[in-house]
C-alpha cells in the first residue's frame, strides 16, 4: 500500500506548477478562515474583558444591559435588596464608566474607570507596583499596564492628572487578564471616589456583584432579582449575552459569516478547479493504471491521498502563516485582538477538509468513469 501512496505522491508533487496552485488555494482558504475567526474570537473575548477581569460569579444589572461597557445605573436599594436575598453569600457594588482624563501635558485621553467596593475591594487587579491599600489614599488611582497604558503617557507611581477637574494621583500600577475592546486605558479606584469624581446620572451602581452560597442557589437568586425588576446573570451567561449582542445586533456575525463563505468559495474554486484540472490532465494515465491492473478502490485511495496530503500541507502552511502574521501584529500592536484558539484551528481544518472532499469528489467520479478501453483507442 505504501508504494501506491508514494506513487500518488510523486504524481502529485512532481507536477510542481499544479501542486503549487493547489497549495496556494488551500493556504489562502485556511489562512483566511483561521485569521477571520481568530479576529472574531479576539474581539469577543476582549468585549468580555471587564467580566473576566472582575471575576465575580454573578452580576446583577438592568435588563437593558447588553454588554459590560453599556451599564445602566441602578439605585442603592438594589444592593441592599440583593444582600438580603436567600442564597446570597455577599454582594458588592461596582462602578464601570468612561471618563476624560487631562494629562500633565494638557492633552486629553478617554479612560475606563472601574470603581471597586470600598470595604472589600472585590474585583481589584493584581498589583505590579505599589500596594492595593494605597487606593484609599487621597485622590488615589491605580493604572493598568496593558497595551493601552502608553496612551496615558505611561504614568509611574506619583504621577498626577485630572479627572473632571479633580486631582488624581497614580498610587500603583497593576495588570489584568485581558485589556478592553475599545482601546481605552483602564483606571481602578474605589466605588465612592468614582461616583464622586465622575459626573453621573441619578443612579450610580453599574453592577451588583454577588457570590451565591452554593451553585444550587443560583436559580432562586435569579428569580428573586427578576421579581425585583432586574436581571442576574452568571459570569458565563453575561459573557454569552455580550457575544450574542455583537454577533446578532451589530452585523459582526453576518459579516463574519459572509467573509467565511467568500473565503470558502474562493478556496473551493481555486483548489477544486485546479485539482479537477490535474485529474483531467492525468486522466489517460489513470486509465493506463486501470488497464495495467489498478483496482477502483486503489485509484480512489490514490486520489484521496493526493487531496488529503495537499489539504493538510496547505492547512499547516496556512496556519503557520496566520500565526506568523498574528505574532508580528502583536509585536507591533500590543492590544491586537486576534486570538487563535483550538476552536479556530478545528474550524479551519473542517473547512479545508470539506474543500478537499468536494474537490476530490468530482475527480474520483471522473476517474472511475474512464474506461481503459479508451486508452487503447488513443
Amino acid at each position: 500500500m505504501k508504494g501506491i501512496l508514494k506513487l500518488a505522491y510523486k504524481l502529485l508533487a512532481n507536477d510542481k506548477a499544479k501542486f503549487t496552485a493547489l497549495l496556494v488555494g488551500i493556504i489562502f482558504a485556511s489562512f483566511s478562515m483561521i485569521f477571520i475567526s481568530s479576529m472574531f474570537v479576539g474581539v469577543m473575548n476582549h468585549s468580555s474583558s471587564t467580566i473576566i477581569n472582575i471575576g465575580a460569579s454573578m452580576w446583577v444589572m438592568d435588563p437593558a444591559v447588553q454588554i459590560p461597557a453599556n451599564s445602566v445605573g441602578m439605585p442603592d436599594y438594589v444592593l441592599d435588596a440583593v444582600r438580603s436575598m436567600r442564597g446570597v453569600a455577599y454582594a458588592v457594588p461596582l462602578y464601570s464608566g468612561t471618563a476624560l482624563v487631562k494629562l500633565s501635558d494638557g492633552s486629553y485621553q478617554a479612560a475606563t474607570v472601574i470603581g471597586v467596593d470600598d470595604n472589600t475591594l472585590f474585583g481589584r487587579p493584581e498589583m505590579v507596583d505599589g500596594r492595593i491599600t494605597d487606593i484609599f489614599a487621597e485622590n488615589g488611582f491605580i493604572v493598568v499596564q496593558d497595551g493601552d497604558y502608553p496612551k496615558l503617557k505611561s504614568p509611574r507611581v506619583g504621577a498626577e492628572f485630572e479627572i473632571n477637574d479633580h486631582r488624581a494621583v497614580i498610587v500603583g500600577t497593576a495588570k489584568v487578564a485581558m485589556s478592553g475592546l475599545f482601546g481605552l486605558p483602564t483606571l481602578y479606584t474605589t466605588y465612592n471616589r468614582a461616583i464622586q469624581y465622575i459626573p453621573n446620572p441619578r443612579y450610580t451602581i453599574s453592577y451588583v456583584l454577588l457570590e451565591p452560597k452554593t451553585p444550587a442557589d443560583i436559580p432562586q437568586i435569579k428569580k428573586q432579582v427578576d421579581e425585583l425588576g432586574y436581571m442576574a446573570l452568571t459570569r458565563n451567561e453575561f459573557m454569552q449575552r455580550s457575544i450574542n449582542y455583537y454577533i446578532f445586533q451589530t452585523g459582526m456575525g453576518t459579516n463574519l459569516l459572509i467573509m467565511t463563505v467568500i473565503t470558502f468559495a474562493v478556496g473551493l474554486s481555486v483548489s477544486g478547479q485546479t485539482f479537477y484540472t490535474f485529474i483531467l490532465e492525468n486522466l489517460e494515465r489513470f486509465g493506463a493504471l486501470k488497464a495495467i491492473g489498478t483496482t477502483s478502490p486503489e485509484l480512489i485511495l490514490m486520489i484521496l491521498f493526493q487531496v488529503t496530503f495537499t489539504a493538510l500541507t496547505g492547512y499547516g502552511l496556512g496556519l503557520g502563516l496566520c500565526t506568523l502574521f498574528v505574532s508580528l501584529a502583536k509585536m507591533r500592536l500590543p492590544s491586537y485582538f486576534a486570538m487563535i484558539t483550538y476552536a479556530n484551528l478545528l474550524l479551519g481544518l473542517v473547512m479545508v477538509l470539506i474543500i478537499a472532499a468536494i474537490s476530490s469528489y468530482a475527480g474520483v467520479r471522473r476517474v472511475l468513469r474512464i474506461e481503459p478501453f479508451e486508452i487503447f483507442r488513443g
Binding site: G3, L7, A288, A291, G293, T295, F376
Partner: protein, 231 residues
C-alpha cells in the same frame, strides 16, 4: 505440443442500441499458443483494438468467452479481473502512456509497485529491465527527454517487468519511423518472446510482419483469414 495461452470463443461485441447499434466483433474465435507472436491486422475500424481490449480483460464482450490458460476471465469480478491483468498481462500502448512526471525507471517499476512490492526493490528490478532494453543510462531521465524509440522501449520494459505470460502490444510502431519500428519488434521477437510467453500485436504496419508467427486478418468485425508465418 504447444500450450494454449488465449482462447477466444464466439466473441461478439456491439456498441449502441437500435438503429445506432454498431457491430465491432462478429463471432470471433481463435486460439493463441505460448511461444507465439500473433498479429491482428486489418484496416481501421475492422475491430482489431476492440478484440485486443476484450482479450486483455478491459472491455466486456456481449457474447462469448475468453480463456487465458485455465481462467475464463469474464467470469471474474472487476477487482479480481484487475488483479488478473496486473499479474498475467503486460501492456504496450500505442502512445506509450508513460508518466511524464516520473523518471524512466519509476515508470518501468509501476507494475511492481501496483503489486504492493517495496518501492526501492521495485526500482532495482526495473533497472534490470532498463538494462535489457538498453536504457540503463537513461534511468533517471524524464520520459520527455527520450526519443520515440526509447520511449517505446521503456513501455516494453514496463510491460515486461512483472514477467507477464501474455504481452499485448497495440500499434507498437505507429509513432515510430520504419527503422526504429523494425528494431523494436526485432528486439521483442528475439529477447521477449519465449516458449512461456504469448505476444499479441495489433498493427497495420506491414513492415514488421516478418516477426509474426501467425497473422489474423480482420475486416468488419470478423476474422477473415489466418496466415501462418515461419518467424
Amino acid at each position: 505440443m504447444a500450450r494454449t495461452a488465449i482462447k477466444a470463443e464466439k466473441l461478439e461485441k456491439w456498441f449502441g442500441e437500435g438503429e445506432a447499434k454498431t457491430m465491432a466483433l462478429r463471432h470471433v474465435s481463435f486460439e493463441a499458443d505460448f511461444g507465439e507472436m500473433v498479429y491482428i491486422v486489418g484496416p481501421s475500424g475492422s475491430g482489431k483494438t476492440t478484440l485486443l481490449s476484450v482479450l486483455s480483460g478491459i472491455l466486456r464482450p456481449n457474447v462469448g468467452e475468453v480463456w487465458v490458460e485455465e481462467t475464463e476471465i469474464w467470469n471474474l469480478d472487476s477487482n479480481r479481473l484487475a488483479e488478473f491483468r496486473r499479474n498475467k498481462i503486460g501492456f504496450v500502448f500505442q502512445d506509450y502512456h508513460l508518466f511524464p512526471r516520473l523518471s524512466t525507471v519509476e515508470n518501468v517499476a509501476i507494475p511492481l509497485i501496483l503489486r504492493k512490492e517495496d518501492w526501492n526493490e521495485s526500482v532495482q528490478e526495473a533497472t534490470k529491465y532498463l538494462e535489457i532494453v538498453g536504457l540503463r543510462g537513461r534511468a533517471e531521465l524524464l520520459p520527455v527527454k527520450l526519443s520515440g524509440g526509447e520511449q517505446q522501449r521503456v513501455a516494453i520494459a514496463r510491460a515486461m517487468v512483472g514477467q507477464p505470460d501474455i504481452l499485448i502490444m497495440d500499434e507498437p510502431t505507429a509513432s515510430l519511423d520504419g527503422d526504429t519500428g523494425q528494431a523494436i519488434l526485432k528486439f521483442v521477437h528475439e529477447k521477449i518472446l519465449n516458449r512461456d510467453r504469448c505476444i499479441v500485436v495489433v498493427t497495420h504496419d506491414s513492415r514488421i510482419y516478418e516477426f509474426a508467427s501467425r497473422i489474423l486478418k480482420m475486416e468488419d468485425g470478423r476474422l477473415t483469414g489466418t496466415e501462418e508465418r515461419a518467424a
